[in-house]
């Protein structure tokens, strides 16, 4: 698939493209098209959340107090900062300083790891201890407030489905960033242009955007 065999002036261009600019925009539009599918995918989950929240607002308000807004806030800060670090990595790739790209990506990885540690260690595992996990042990609701246990279970089903899918995206992001770092480290010809980093960056910022909406919806519910 190397472009060199096809006699292009620029060795970065694949054989099906005319020039680098066309190739770059194709990749960016392609990535955005993929993000459109991600938007619709999370959108359907947000729809489910909206419908149940409209029906059970009073109960959901009581249940949401089991989630600590400070932990969620900490995670928001971590993710916002990781997004910034990612943007910096793209910047340094654009100005062709691969060493700095690599270092900023390490920072992104650390933030992602911190996010997962906070999420799983401070939230999910304690939830399991409080019998608030529908998938582990028996689900029980001990916190009164006139909340029927099945509504609490619905709330936590939604919570784990949405944050779980988001967490899965974080994990996938870490794997992809790791692969990118490895390629940058090996000076792989694929990452000579900055577009791969930019694409991974777009994905990572999207993960951040999802959390921007999840945070107020789950942790800062109004009465």
């Amino acid at each position: 698939m190397s472009a060199e065999a096809h006699g292009h002036a620029n060795h970065l261009v694949y054989h099906q493209y005319e020039d680098l600019e066309q190739q770059r925009e194709s990749y960016i539009v392609g990535m955005w098209s993929f993000l459109v599918t991600e938007i619709m995918m999370f959108g359907a989950l947000f729809l489910a959340y909206m419908i149940y929240r409209m029906q059970y607002q009073d109960h959901f308000y009581v249940i949401h107090k089991q989630l600590d807004w400070r932990v969620g806030g900490l995670n928001t800060v971590v993710l916002l900062f990781s997004s910034f670090a990612m943007a910096m990595a793209v910047y340094y790739h654009q100005v062709k300083q691969p060493k700095k790209v690599f270092n900023w990506l390490i920072l992104v990885q650390l933030c992602a790891a911190a996010f997962l540690v906070i999420k799983i260690g401070l939230e999910w595992i304690p939830k399991a201890g409080h019998h608030l996990t529908p998938f582990y042990g028996t689900f029980e609701w001990h916190y009164g407030g006139g909340v029927p246990p099945e509504i609490a279970k619905l709330f936590f089903s939604l919570y784990f489905a949405m944050t779980g899918l988001h967490g899965l995206h974080v994990v996938i992001g870490m794997i992809v960033i790791g692969a990118l770092q490895w390629m940058i480290h090996k000076k792989h010809p694929l990452v000579e242009d900055y577009i791969p980093t930019e694409m991974v960056g777009l994905y990572w910022h999207f993960v951040d955007i999802v959390w921007i909406f999840l945070y107020p919806l789950y942790y800062l519910m109004p009465q």
């Binding site: 099906q16 392609g30 459109v36 599918t37 359907a44 149940y52 029906q55 529908p134 998938f135 784990f160």
Partner: protein, 562 residues
């Protein structure tokens, strides 16, 4: 009689060293096929895959039809019957109809028609095929491990409680969804960014417009059903119940989210078929298509309005009546762009020089069957009638008219039309016309009785109808028609395969058709064109009087010119 004069056809063979280099003979190893980035080779891989799954789905359909010949059933247990119709639906919809035209004809033709060397992302394209095969393998595994009886719609709460292999099937469908997302994504970027210089949006063939609209639907719809089915998997595997009434959930929400994709999915299936038929009608009539802009925009209109009508599947499912009225109205509206297309095709044929060869016979069959399928759709989109007709054989007949009469007919027509381009060889045209007519009549024999028996009240998905033995003649007629239909499908499979090896060799443009794909050699070289096409004519430019075809050599000259 010297031995030095070799007969020309003795040297004809697939691996003729004198044959010019093309995408098929450029490399011969299995690895070169399985790791290819060439969109044409991937199209062939897809063609093999979907033919296989079409065959499997047909066997399941045959079992269902056989079972219904008697009011008391013939040979299947109740559960087995449920598994059979579920297998038929799941295989035919997710593994045949949705990838059928886009992944084979679309993959092959989209880059050639717009003058590109390949799709924008060749490796993604290959990955899409692998995901499709993995999805197919998983779904097949599920059938061999006990099958699924939840139907292709997987309605909750049944699908979340059923003891059969629903989880594995759903994961398979989920992966298959990614396969079609990647195909759609590739088409969108390719059509936006890879058009040859001078190939403006309104110079593109209507096939491309249809595929663009299809890709947009795939991008916007598929992720919604993916997450919906994933939630059912979570409900089954991890007890995370979002649709489960035990948890205060609402099963009707599943239907909303499911049909948000699955109604537009109908347009994913039929829009490429419309694109194919636009090509066949224009080229078969030797005329510029009537109202090009209208046909192009109607594809986008179908894609857009198609997203706003999903509620007509839920008129009796507990959906609000007011919402139902709106959905009913919008469902009538979506019939308008489809009707525009049919009118324009008809107007194109009018005073055209119609060449009645195999592709054109299929195209004419498509128009007839699609009109019946579309108009009966209006019966179902008006709420009052739908209450009577919901979940009867009327619905079954309606969507088979659109899916088989529409998509499969268009697929076969397109396959026959572009076959000489794909393999550089022609099949026997008379045999093609015979099988096209068999498909048309066999299809009508199969599904027209179902309209009547459905109107009389035969419910779909029923194993027995001993409560109404008077339905038997209709079911018998239907099953007999299905046998004709099967022969109509088997014939092309035989003579097309034969023609790959033994068919008459043809040049670049056997039909006298217009379009960039007919200017390059058959079969095309790996990069499609020797040099990038730059001087792009208008679409269907028959008025220019340039005829570079070899139509007369192949099919004989028209009578009056003799």
């Amino acid at each position: 009689m010297s031995a030095t004069v070799a007969k020309p056809d003795q040297t004809e063979g697939l691996y003729d060293p004198k044959e010019p280099l093309n995408y098929i003979n450029v490399q011969h190893t299995l690895k070169s096929w399985l790791l290819t980035g060439d969109h044409k080779r991937i199209a062939i891989l897809y063609l093999i895959g979907i033919t296989f799954f079409f065959f499997l789905g047909s066997i399941a359909a045959a079992m269902v039809r056989l079972e219904l010949t008697s009011p008391h059933g013939v040979m299947l247990e109740n559960d087995t019957y449920n598994k059979m119709f579920s297998a038929h639906g799941i295989i035919m919809i997710f593994l045949f109809l949705i990838p059928s035209i886009p992944a084979t004809l679309g993959n092959f033709l989209v880059p050639i028609m717009i003058g590109a060397r390949d799709l924008a992302f060749p490796r993604l394209n290959l990955m899409s095929w692998y995901l499709y095969m993995i999805a197919g393998a998983m779904i097949l595994c599920a059938f061999f491990m006990g099958g699924v009886e939840a139907g292709w719609t997987f309605y909750t709460p049944y699908s979340s409680l059923a003891k059969s292999q629903v989880t594995l099937t759903l994961v398979g469908v989920f992966i298959g969804g990614f396969s079609s997302i990647f195909t759609g994504l590739n088409f969108i970027v390719t059509i936006h960014k890879m058009r040859a210089p001078g190939m403006g949006w309104f110079k593109m063939p209507l096939f491309i417009w249809a595929h663009y609209a299809t890709s947009v639907i795939i991008m916007l719809g598929t992720p919604v059903v993916a997450i919906t089915l994933l939630l059912v998997v979570l409900e089954r595997a991890f007890n995370i119940g979002i649709f489960s009434p035990d948890n205060g959930g609402d099963p009707v929400l599943f239907q909303h989210m499911f049909w948000f994709y699955s109604h537009p999915a109908v347009y994913i299936m039929v829009l490429p078929g419309m694109g194919v038929v636009s090509e066949l009608i224009a080229n078969g009539s030797g005329k510029k298509i009537f109202g090009y802009d209208f046909v192009a925009y109607s594809s986008l209109a179908i894609a857009a309005i198609g997203f706003l009508v999903w509620g007509h599947h839920m008129f009796v499912a507990g959906q609000s009546m007011y919402q139902g009225v709106i959905f009913s109205l919008l469902s009538f509206v979506v019939a308008v762009p489809s009707a525009i297309k049919v009118f324009n095709w008809t107007a194109t044929i009018y005073k055209g020089q119609v060449k009645l060869n195999t592709p054109m016979v299929y195209a004419l069959g498509f128009m007839g069957l699609f009109v019946i399928g579309g108009l009966t759709g209006l019966y179902l989109s008006s709420m009052g009638t739908d209450v009577h007709l919901t979940a009867t054989y009327f619905v079954v007949a309606h969507f088979h008219y659109v899916m088989v009469g529409g998509t499969v007919t268009a697929f076969l027509g397109g396959l026959h039309f572009w076959w000489p381009k794909m393999f550089g060889r022609m099949y026997p045209d008379t045999l093609g016309i015979v099988s096209a007519i068999m498909v048309f009549f066999g299809f009508n024999f199969t599904f027209f009785p179902q309209f009547i028996v459905g109107w009389m009240g035969m419910p779909r998905r029923y194993h027995y109808y001993y409560f109404a033995p008077e339905f038997q003649p209709y079911h018998l007629a239907s099953s007999m028609g299905a046998s004709f239909l099967a022969i109509g499908f088997a014939l092309p499979a035989c003579y097309l395969t034969w023609s790959i090896f033994k068919g008459r060799k043809v040049g670049p443009n056997p039909w006298g058709a217009k379009g960039l794909e007919w200017t390059t050699q058959s079969p095309p070289i790996t990069t499609n064109f020797e040099t990038m096409p730059t001087d792009i004519p208008e679409a269907y430019d028959f008025d220019s009087g340039i005829d570079d075809s070899e139509y007369d050599e192949i099919f004989g000259k028209p009578k009056e010119s003799k």
